[in-house]
């Protein structure tokens, strides 16, 4: 595997992992009765934003 392919693959994998972690944290928080101001909710949103944001940047730059 070339260095470029590994890098872009790893970036995508990390982005998807961040997205998945964010969704899990959000769901678990809501299931436990956490509100929009709870730590879990904010953490989940942050992970989703980072994951989705990096995926979006990668799509735009073709990487």
């Amino acid at each position: 595997m070339s260095s470029d392919r590994f890098y872009h693959g790893a970036v995508r994998a990390f982005s998807l992992a961040f997205l998945a972690i964010g969704i899990v944290v959000l769901v678990v928080t809501l299931a436990n009765g956490g509100g929009p101001a709870s730590v879990g909710f904010l953490l989940g949103i942050a992970f989703i934003l980072v994951g989705a944001g990096r995926l979006w940047i990668g799509t735009r730059s073709g990487g």
Partner: protein, 636 residues
């Protein structure tokens, strides 16, 4: 580049993003197995925050390392940066701090191995089992390193992947089963549990979780397209580590909340019961059923023990390489960097620093080891940050293939914000560690004072300036200045003594673009024995030549031991050169009674010559009949 595709003994010297990332993650990722518990003991419910803050300092430090490493792709890390930015004394201080790091890495990693192995043998989990186990491990690895060893990139890659996958799985299970934001909030009692001073110490100690960033710097000489691969691999490492080191303590503190005991003290099992095996603590508190928990316990126990054992060995290899590098720059006395007459490894240094590592683990106090590590690491990192800022000032026009984002102009030059913030962070952490830990202050400053005293006395004794770079003069090859080869093969026969001149010549031949050098060290197997007959002494002797070549040529030297039949050495060298597509062969010229001997091996190589052949003579055996004939070259 000499690549031995068909065989396994030597590894490619062209590292891409994947192998740089796996090596760095393997190193940094191993730290969580001891850092989590000791950080939690200080930072309690604010442990995730402490890891985020120390992680941001780590990210800035990684950016500094990436910029300077791409600029100077050579081993040495902060010591090398300081040499380019300041002078040899500052470089020595950074190197001596690194030596402390390596020594403590050896101690702390070895100390935690028995704790994880306690899943099989519970007596290893308590004192004195853990201390004895750790000390025995250090002694065993020191002896192995004296005989000569090398890291296996493939093993590192497998372990890094297993480590990353295990941590992701544990986090995944933990997030689903035990994550409780409510518990995480309840864990924190601002100013009380933790106290502000403990929280600050937690941030400083949390930095030990991020140890190992120098790995990429030390592999820089082997990196392919360093300007691209190093920043990318550093970036991936930072992202992976930051995310996991935020999530792991979140899961851990959800599973092991901070509680108040009858005496009013706040504590978490993560920093008490499981302080010495925190990842096992997570496994046991994930809320899984009995059998899956047992299986996971054994798996994590073995994985952590192997990863920490590799980390201990990496620390000893670090001591060995750093001793050589400091010796090359005349920073350490000859006595300390003396190489073993047979195995050609710096055995005195390995023994001394292994003994120091054992001494530091004897009290069995992980918080002392952690703060000592933090002392050395913060000092080294601070010097790296300041060196990068200074380089921006004094070498403003120098080519910088990569620069971190967020730079601003001040004092007439472009200042990297990451180095400023990172430098402030590491410097403050260094002060905090000393201010809040009197023992660390005394021992740490004592270590530095001892090192500087040795350095000053040695340099004065040798009549050398304190601040100027003085390198050990390696034998200079003659007549090859204008030629450069993509790959060079160095051939040694078993009855032939190791020749520094041959390796120096190969280094010179392959110097301009840091090309590869492959040592083909042969051992002759008599015809009455099978080719794979056990011949440990000969094998060790052949291996020692490779190790000594690495001491001269650095990381781009690889090598392997080849078994040959009597009279076949020349063909073996020629075949090997053809196989790895070497562009030059370096062989030695033997003498008998002071007269050069064009023996069968040399004649065969010259007869076959699959590429250029450089014949190097040993100046100490120079014949009066061929004055000055230090080198001859036979063209194809």
């Amino acid at each position: 580049m000499a690549q031995r595709i068909p065989r396994d003994e030597s590894l490619s010297r062209v590292h891409g993003v994947g192998s740089l990332f796996s090596a760095a993650y393997g190193n940094v990722g191993s730290s969580i197995y001891y850092a989590l518990g000791v950080t939690a003991a200080f930072a309690l419910g604010l442990t995730p925050v402490a890891f985020v803050i120390s992680g941001l300092i780590f990210a800035a430090t990684a950016a500094t390392y990436a910029e300077a490493t791409v600029m100077f792709p050579e081993a040495g890390g902060s010591s090398s940066f300081a040499r380019h930015a300041f002078n040899e004394l500052v470089s020595f201080i950074a190197a001596w701090g690194q030596m402390l790091n390596y020594t403590i890495t050896v101690a702390i990693s070895a100390f935690f191995v028995p704790h994880y192995l306690a899943v099989f043998w519970p007596w290893l989990g308590d004192s004195p089992g853990d201390i004895i186990g750790g000390a025995v491990l250090i002694v065993a690895l020191a002896l192995i390193n004296i005989r000569g060893t090398e890291e296996s990139a493939k093993l590192n890659l497998i372990l890094a992947v297993a480590d990353l996958a295990t941590q992701v799985i544990l986090v995944g299970i933990g997030l689903v089963l035990v994550l409780s934001p409510e518990v995480l909030v309840d864990n924190v009692h601002l100013g009380v549990a933790p106290t502000w001073s403990d929280f600050l110490l937690g941030i400083a100690v949390g930095m030990i979780a991020y140890t190992g960033i120098e790995t990429i710097s030390n592999m820089a000489e082997e990196a392919k397209d360093a300007a691209r691969t190093i920043p990318r691999s550093v970036g991936l490492t930072v992202v992976a580590v930051l995310a996991l080191y935020l999530l792991i303590p979140i899961v851990a503190l959800s599973a092991m909340p901070v509680t108040q005991d009858a005496a009013g003290h706040y504590a978490t099992e993560l920093g008490s019961t499981f302080a010495d095996d925190p990842i096992l603590g997570i496994v046991e508190n994930l809320g899984l059923a009995g059998t899956p928990t047992e299986i996971l316990r054994y798996y994590v126990g073995v994985l952590a023990a192997v990863i920490l054992l590799i980390a201990t060995n990496a620390g000893l290899i670090g001591v060995s390489r750093l001793t050589y590098s400091m010796g090359q720059h005349r920073q350490l006395p000859e006595g300390l960097r003396q190489v073993h007459p047979k195995y050609r490894t710096p055995y005195i240094a390995i023994l001394i620093f292994a003994a120091i590592a054992i001494l530091t683990l004897l009290p069995g106090q992980t918080d002392f080891l952690a703060t000592m590590y933090s002392f050395g690491a913060m000092l080294s990192f601070t010097i790296a940050h300041v060196a990068v800022i200074q380089l921006r000032r004094v070498k403003a026009e120098a080519e910088r293939p990569w620069k971190p984002p967020l730079n601003f102009r001040a004092f007439g030059f472009e200042v990297p914000l990451s180095a400023v913030l990172g430098g402030l962070g590491t410097f403050i952490a260094w002060l905090v560690v000393m201010a809040l830990n009197p023992r660390t202050l005394v021992v740490g400053l004592g270590w530095m004072a001892l090192g500087i005293a040795i350095y000053v006395l040695y340099r004065r004794n040798q009549g050398l300036p304190l601040t100027e770079t003085v390198k050990v003069v390696l034998p200079e090859p003659l007549g090859v200045e204008e030629v450069e080869y993509r790959s060079v093969l160095v051939g040694f026969e078993d009855e032939e003594a190791f020749s520094p001149e041959m390796v120096a010549t190969a280094v010179k031949l392959a110097s301009k673009r840091r090309r590869g050098i492959h040592v083909h060290s042969m051992m002759t197997v008599p015809t009455n024995l099978p080719l794979n007959a056990a011949m440990p002494e000969k094998e060790a002797d052949a291996q020692s030549k490779i190790e000594e070549a690495k001491l001269i040529g650095g990381q781009r030297v690889t090598g392997h031991v080849s078994r040959v039949r009597p009279g076949q050495a020349g063909y073996s060298v020629a075949d090997e050169a053809a196989e790895i597509k070497a562009e030059a062969i370096v062989v030695g010229l033997n003498y008998r009674n002071g007269v050069p001997l064009y023996d069968k091996t040399l004649q065969t190589i010259l007869g076959e010559r699959p590429c250029r052949v450089i014949v190097v003579s040993d100046p100490t055996e120079k014949s009066p009949v061929v004055p000055g004939a230090a080198l001859a070259e036979a063209g194809r």
